[in-house]
Symmetry: C2
Subunit: 148 residues, 2 copies
C-alpha cells in the first residue's frame, strides 16, 4: 500500500493550552492547575496514553479476526511514572518522559492461552504506537523565527 | 520532586473505538471509515500528534520564561508518514509506526536567533514526548485472559 500521511496544525493559546486540528477534529490540550494550566482538557502525556490504548484496541481486533479468535470484551488500562525534574530544569540523570509504560489488559475470549500469546506477539509487532514508543523515531524540527 | 503517575482506564467499544478516562476527562479514539471505523473521533496516531504538539507548547513557554524571552505567537504543525503494510500484516521491512516526524514551528519572538536556538535545545531535551519518541521506552504488558 502507499504511505499514509497524518498531520495536526494548531496554535498556542496559552502557556499550557494548544488548540489543534487533525482532519475535521479539533483537539485541545491543556495542563492541570497544579502545572499552571486551566485544566480545560487532558494534558499531553494523557493524550499519549489515549493514543496507545486506542491503537492496541484496533490491532487486537485486526489480528483476532485473522486468527479467527472471538473477542467478547477488552479493558485496556495504561499507566506510567514521570520524574518531572528534567522538565522543570532541575539537575537529574532521569529521562524527561515516561520511564516505562504498564499496559494492563483484560481480554475476554474463548481462545486458548497459546493463541492469545500469538495474538499479542502480533499486536506488539504491528501496533504503530508500540513501534514509536519502543523504538527511536527521527524528529525533524523546522523552526521559522518571526521577528516583528 | 517526587514522581508523577499518569493513567488511562477504558474499554473497547467496537473494533476501532476505545473509550477511556484520564482523571475527569473522557477520551474517545476511533478510526476513519476507510479503516473500518465510524470516524466519531481522531485516530490513535492523531492523538499522538496532539500529545506531541501540546507538549512542545508547554515546554517552549516554560523555557522561554527561564530565558526571559517574550513569545508572542506560536504555530505548531506536525506530520509524518506511516507505511500501513506492517499493521495490515503484509510482508515488509518497514516499521509499523511513523517513519519520522516533521515538526514545523512558527515562533514570533523578539529574541535573537542564538537565544531561540538555545531555547529549542532545551525544549528537545526536556519535553517528555520528545523523549518517549526519540528514545526507547520499556513497555510492560500484563494480560489477563478471561474465559467464560
Amino acid at each position: 500500500m502507499s504511505k499514509l500521511n497524518f498531520s495536526i496544525s494548531g496554535n498556542s493559546i496559552t502557556a499550557t493550552r494548544y488548540d489543534g486540528k487533525a482532519r475535521h477534529f479539533n483537539l485541545t490540550v491543556d495542563e492541570p492547575e497544579e502545572f499552571g494550566g486551566k485544566d480545560v482538557a487532558p494534558n499531553p502525556v494523557e493524550y499519549l496514553l489515549a493514543a496507545y490504548a486506542g491503537c492496541i484496541n484496533v490491532v487486537i481486533h485486526l489480528v483476532a479476526k485473522e486468527l479467527q479468535v472471538t473477542v467478547n470484551n477488552i479493558s485496556i488500562n495504561i499507566n506510567g511514572d514521570i520524574n518531572p525534574d528534567r522538565l522543570f530544569g532541575l539537575l537529574t540523570v532521569d529521562r524527561a518522559g515516561f520511564e516505562s509504560l504498564n499496559v494492563d489488559i483484560d481480554l475476554d475470549s474463548d481462545a486458548s492461552r497459546e493463541v492469545i500469546d500469538t495474538l499479542f506477539e502480533q499486536v506488539k509487532d504491528r501496533c504503530p504506537l508500540n513501534d514509536n514508543l519502543s523504538n527511536s523515531t527521527p524528529l525533524n524540527y523546522n523552526i521559522r523565527h518571526l521577528v516583528n
